[in-house]
């Protein structure tokens, strides 16, 4: 039974990635660009899901990890003239370091206090970006030139502004993180995280160091969230303080809730769904925030498990 579900799981995940690969050649230009953006932001949601879905820690400050990656990569390219790979690593490293510091501080609290503390640290991060506007560009942001967004392998050079290269880079990042998430949630570590979510006291009583495990989860989640931030700066060439605002802390929560918390593919489905709902409704109305608000309330009232969570509960019990 277990082997069957394992085979099904891998078939499903590889199938999704293959489908996304094919879509690159099928989709019209506009939707190709939109999909690249959705895949990048879905990675952000996956990083968020790791902490919110599996450990049950609701953070309202994950925009700081995303923008740590965004600014870590963007500023090193813009001011220091670093290449794409170094800048990406710098962005991810910034996110990991920030997550370690925030984790050490914020994990001293729990529940509502944890949400407020993370929100406040994110607010400090946001205000710092505005305060150092001379380097960060403040709320105007900075545009990274096309010439500095080329990836060189020996003699071949990939221009990240090319739609197909951009799509494939986003897909590569998405695939890597998807399999990391899958590996983590199937591992011993992942099961301890779920145990902490279900009953922290009992997990501690069984001899697990819950604080160390939670800290590891925060760092992993922050690092994963920094990766799409760094990728966003390099692929789309714009960094701005709005990505650090509280709205970008709430969006991943919305995407994860919509797609299904504690499911590996939920973040992608949630992000995809929300992006297209916004895209379609923006043809009729500019009241995009109204839709976000109504969606949040309806979700929390009627479908707290999200799309994939409900499907898993009803039909497909083996979904990871």
């Amino acid at each position: 039974m277990k082997d069957v579900s394992l085979a099904k799981t891998y078939a499903l995940h590889i199938g999704i990635i293959a489908l996304l690969f094919v879509l690159n050649f099928v989709l019209p230009d506009y939707h190709q660009g939109l999909f690249a953006r959705i895949m990048t932001l879905a990675v952000f949601a996956m990083g968020y899901n790791l902490l919110f879905g599996y450990v049950g820690l609701l953070s309202l400050g994950h925009a700081m990890f995303f923008s740590a990656g965004l600014y870590g990569a963007g500023l090193t390219v813009y001011h220091l003239g670093w290449g794409v790979p170094e800048a990406f690593v710098a962005g991810v490293a910034c996110g990991a370091l920030l997550a370690l510091v925030i984790g050490l501080l914020a994990l001293r609290t729990s529940g509502v206090a944890f949400m407020i503390v993370t929100m406040m640290f994110a607010q400090v991060f946001y205000l710092l970006i505005l305060y150092f506007a001379a380097w960060t560009g403040g709320d105007q942001g900075l545009v990274i030139q096309q010439t500095s967004r080329a990836l060189n392998f020996g003699s071949t050079s990939f221009d990240l502004t090319n739609p197909t290269v951009r799509y494939m880079s986003a897909l590569a990042l998405f695939s890597v993180v998807l399999f990391i998430t899958l590996a983590v949630v199937r591992s011993r570590f992942g099961r301890v995280l779920v145990a902490i979510r279900e009953n922290e006291e009992r997990t501690r009583m069984l001899g697990y160091d819950t604080v160390a495990n939670k800290l590891a989860a925060v760092v992993l989640s922050g690092t994963i969230c920094a990766a799409p931030g760094a990728a966003y700066a390099l692929l789309f060439g714009y960094i701005g303080s709005s990505f650090a605002s509280v709205q970008y802390s709430i969006l991943p929560l919305l995407w994860v809730l919509l797609g299904g918390a504690a499911t590996t593919l939920g973040p992608l489905i949630g992000t995809l769904f929300m992006y297209y709902v916004t895209d379609i409704t923006s043809g009729f109305t500019s009241a995009y925030l109204l839709i976000v608000g109504v969606a949040l309330i309806l979700l929390v009232l009627f479908a707290p498990k999200g799309i994939l969570g409900s499907i898993r509960q009803r039909w497909l019990g083996w979904l990871p």
Binding site: G111, I116, V300
Partner: protein, 293 residues
């Protein structure tokens, strides 16, 4: 101007901020204390109060004082009604689960903000103060209205304190705050108390907004700063401690006024937010609060 008068001016401005902040934070603290939920939409109730005050005062012609008094009565009642229905339609069905209510109130925040943008527009609009008497100090003239805001806020705070400690309604609220189940067992209609507390919390924010709107204009994004500052005040003051809330509001308002007059306002916000986050991390019961059971 010399340093002394400059500091006095900063302190006066800070005192006005403190007065408004104390009322707003008291609303948040009541909801937080009695219902044990975090109302992220609190700042939007504040904004709604200001926007409605503008709508009411422009609809009524005649002396500005008539429009203002009408706004001071009607706007909080309307906001209270909105909060009452939000509680009845959404929060009650969530069984006041802390995490779900945070998500739901974030939803409310977006809905109210977007509706204000759609129907009120992106402009900042002023409300005329009910009187424009200036008090002449030796160094500068100071708006009498601003000082009356401080007085009005002080009166309202004392009234709330009297209601909480001296009346039967206050007793019922405190009983519900202390132990929900036992209160219910003694025949207290806990659900009605919750609906009432949520509405009163929103009304306090709306009153604060109506008071401030002749000084700073009504704008659809004006709820963000009061929300953050109220959180800060409630956390520093300690949960459910009225005295702590008032002391913290004065502390934050004065330091905000003084720091932003001599340094950058952004730096003031960074320092205040960081200090509060650290207070939460290392002293979660607040500076004046007692440990919750």
């Amino acid at each position: 101007m010399h340093f002394g008068p400059h500091l006095l001016l900063a302190a006066l401005e800070g005192l006005v901020t403190s007065a408004v902040l104390a009322l707003t934070a008291l609303g948040l603290s009541l909801v937080f204390g009695v219902m044990r939920i975090v109302n992220v939409a609190h700042g939007e109730f504040f904004m709604l109060g200001a926007v409605l005050a503008w709508a009411i005062s422009t609809a009524i012609s005649g002396h500005p004082a008539i429009g203002f008094v009408a706004a001071l009565v009607i706007a909080p009642l309307m906001v209270g009604l909105v909060a009452f229905f939000a509680e009845w339609l959404v929060l009650r069905r969530l069984n006041y689960n802390p995490e779900s209510t945070i998500v739901a109130t974030i939803g409310m925040l977006y809905i109210i903000q977007q509706l204000a943008l759609t129907f009120y527009g992106p402009e900042a609009r002023p409300v005329e103060p009910p009187f424009s008497y200036r008090i002449l100090l030796p160094w500068f003239g100071y708006s009498g209205y601003k000082l009356s805001v401080v007085a009005a806020s002080a009166i309202l705070l004392v009234l709330t304190w009297l209601v909480l400690t001296r009346t039967r309604i206050g007793l019922i609220m405190r009983a519900t705050q202390y132990d929900r189940e036992t209160a219910q067992a003694f025949g207290i209609p806990v659900e009605r108390v919750y609906a009432g507390v949520f509405a009163i919390g929103a009304m306090l924010a709306a009153i604060a907004a109506v008071l401030i709107v002749p000084i700073s204009q009504a704008h659809y994004l004006m709820g963000q700063d009061p929300l953050l500052l109220s959180f800060i005040v409630v956390i520093i003051g300690g949960l459910g401690s009225l005295r702590g809330t008032v002391v913290a509001a004065i502390l934050i308002g004065l330091s905000d006024g003084i720091i932003s007059m001599f340094f950058s306002p952004t730096l003031a916000k960074i320092i205040a937010t960081l200090v509060v986050a650290m207070v939460l991390v290392f002293r979660p019961q607040g500076l004046f609060g007692t440990t919750q059971r």
